[in-house]
Symmetry: C2
Subunit: 383 residues, 2 copies
């Protein structure tokens, strides 16, 4: 009993110490990546407040994370190849391994048992036990791995920049079964699975166009579309590669960033036909659908990254331009859409907007914040 | 400090007492309604286990619930008009009010501040402070209120059985603003908001057909469709009214139960045109989309309620028939789709299926279980 009490006190001290009332549920918590300091800011959505900081995560300049199904643990993928398991309740790192020289993201299996990491140096995918971070499988690749995502049934999907191939890995049996899905195009730079896990969309950098793979087909086959976009325009230098995890799926459409251009591309989800473009403030980076609404929010590459635009998916028109501050790096919505949280790196703050009125509801101080990750992500396929 | 320790121990005793390691995250918890005993079974999804029971909730024969954004509290709507606020961590009722003579459901506002209840006796909607359960607004209605759902911006929508009217209530200002959306048809029996909060679908009992309201229109107008379904068949007696909260939205379609018939109706989401029917085992009650898949699962009204069927939304064909046991009342999916939990009332158990292999993974004992509610619902609009 004594041990139990001690463990209890230790485990919950950070929550209890910072909040007025006991705060031990995890549904409205989140972690924000602080790039420069290699730390994570723990936030409480309901309170609009920071409730702690976790340090010692290494190079977080391009970091992302995914959550365990119980929302207690986050798996943080650092640019330096570090994979860290963080306990959001105890607010500390509980396991950490430098698993590669340069990694760019990861995913957790649908049952929460496996964590996969996609690596640049060396290329390939490493799969770890989610409990212990012990290596379970090491899948080599002929180059840099990008666009790693989870699929139902303890499977993952990824693409390779150098060879232009996509792969499906099934980890439900005793031994992993990895299948090539064929050539998807030249230099895929990022890829994403739609919210219904139906389609894997792959952005190409080495040529114009996008590739879609229907994952419900047997066998799935790559289909190219948008091969002609922007052929009549001169491309600008790409200041920042767009993130496709932010691709929005709304009103029967995909909304895609035009690489190297100041525009969004609209594509019919069923036919993969171009249905329009929207001129925007800069080169789009994230295009994120506001839940329970017809809107997407867009941020932009440097040097035009002080602005966020809100676009109506029905009319394809910009309906609002916001100026949260210098260097807007990411946006995350309250899961039911009432608020948008925006990270403003060069002003060391998070700005919280009411999505209905566009009024600023609150600000939270943060050290050079980039990615914002709420625990509700634990329940979404493909994140 | 002493008080802090005591509070901590008390608050977390149930979790800690039952688990090997501290368990205070709430992402993989759930509550199951035990009809006959007026109790709630607390379950841990990851462990496939019951971790406690909460008693004293009154008449739970048609009960439902909704969760606070932090996943700590559930608001339980009992048939006897009881509204109970339950703490899932402390495993106890923290507030309870008998707010009407007969109530049938409720919803929580997108910001988690207000809980609304729809009542039969007397009719109308009552709105409560989510913290204290104090009455905030009492909206009368010319009859029984059905199909209450939350909309973004602290709003709720509902319909009235007797008058056939739908209403929109805006609770974002100092005083509630209630607007009639007009006549939607004879005897609406249930209604639901689509997952993107775009459309309010209303099932009619007093006449053939379904009504849709486009909530993004200004002002929103009721549109009737499916007016002719089943006109060539003789209707059977309706053994159990279908639940529309289970209506599935998949592959650009709505999937609806044909009231009084052994069939599903498929409707194009965009055009509201009939796109097919599926003959099934009995009168459908719940039709629920398996996340990240092309499938819906269907259960049936008494006396054919020992079966669950899985239907492919692409082909409209039954692909699997399962027999979980006597009186299947509800199904709930793990949020990313890996498992289906099925309540089997007359065999006092919950059966857990692997959705990929259809194998039975586990069973949990429960007293005459009906509705299964996982905490991940806290993050979904319209639930």
């Amino acid at each position: 009993m004594k041990r139990f009490l001690a463990a209890t006190a230790l485990a919950l001290l950070p929550c209890f110490a910072l909040a007025e009332t006991p705060c031990c549920s995890t549904g409205d918590l989140g972690l924000i990546i602080e790039r420069a300091t290699g730390s994570l800011l723990v936030v409480d959505r309901s309170e609009h407040a920071a409730v702690g900081r976790i340090e010692g995560l290494g190079d977080m300049s391009h970091a992302s994370m995914t959550y365990s199904p119980d929302e207690r643990f986050a798996y943080v993928f650092g640019r330096d190849g570090g994979l860290s398991k963080v306990d959001i309740l105890e607010q500390k790192i509980v396991a950490r391994t430098i698993q590669a020289g340069n990694s760019i993201g990861g995913a957790i299996s649908d049952d929460g048992k496996l964590v996969a990491v996609s690596n640049y140096t060396p290329g390939g995918v490493k799969v770890f036990d989610a409990d212990t971070l012990e290596l379970v499988a090491d899948i080599p690749a002929p180059g840099k791995t990008i666009g790693l995502a989870d699929l139902p049934g303890r499977r993952f999907i990824w693409s390779v920049w150098d060879s232009g191939e996509a792969y499906l890995g099934d980890f439900s049996g005793d031994e992993p079964v990895v299948t090539s899905l064929g050539h998807v195009g030249k230099n895929p730079f990022d890829a994403v699975v739609t919210d219904d896990a139906h389609t894997y969309l792959i952005g190409l950098f080495g040529e114009k166009g996008v590739t879609a793979i229907d994952l419900w087909q047997d066998p799935p086959k790559p289909i190219r579309f948008l091969n002609d976009y922007g052929k009549d325009q001169e491309d600008m230098p790409v200041y920042k590669m767009p993130h496709l995890q932010g691709w929005a799926f709304s009103e029967g459409q995909f909304v895609l960033p035009a690489v190297g251009q100041y525009r969004l591309l609209w594509v019919d989800r069923e036919t993969l036909k171009d249905t329009g473009t929207t001129e925007v403030h800069g080169q789009p980076v994230f295009i994120i659908a506001q839940p329970a609404s017809p809107y997407v929010w867009v941020n932009f590459a440097t040097p035009r990254n002080g602005v966020v635009q809100v676009v109506d998916t029905r009319t394809h028109e910009v309906v609002k331009t916001l100026e949260p501050g210098k260097a807007v790096l990411h946006m995350e919505f309250a899961p039911r859409g009432a608020e948008a949280w925006v990270s403003v790196r060069d002003e060391n703050k998070i700005v919280i907007y009411d999505t209905r009125t566009f009024e600023k509801k609150a600000e939270i101080a943060a050290q050079a914040p980039s990615g914002i990750f709420f625990t509700a992500r634990a329940h979404q396929p493909g994140l």
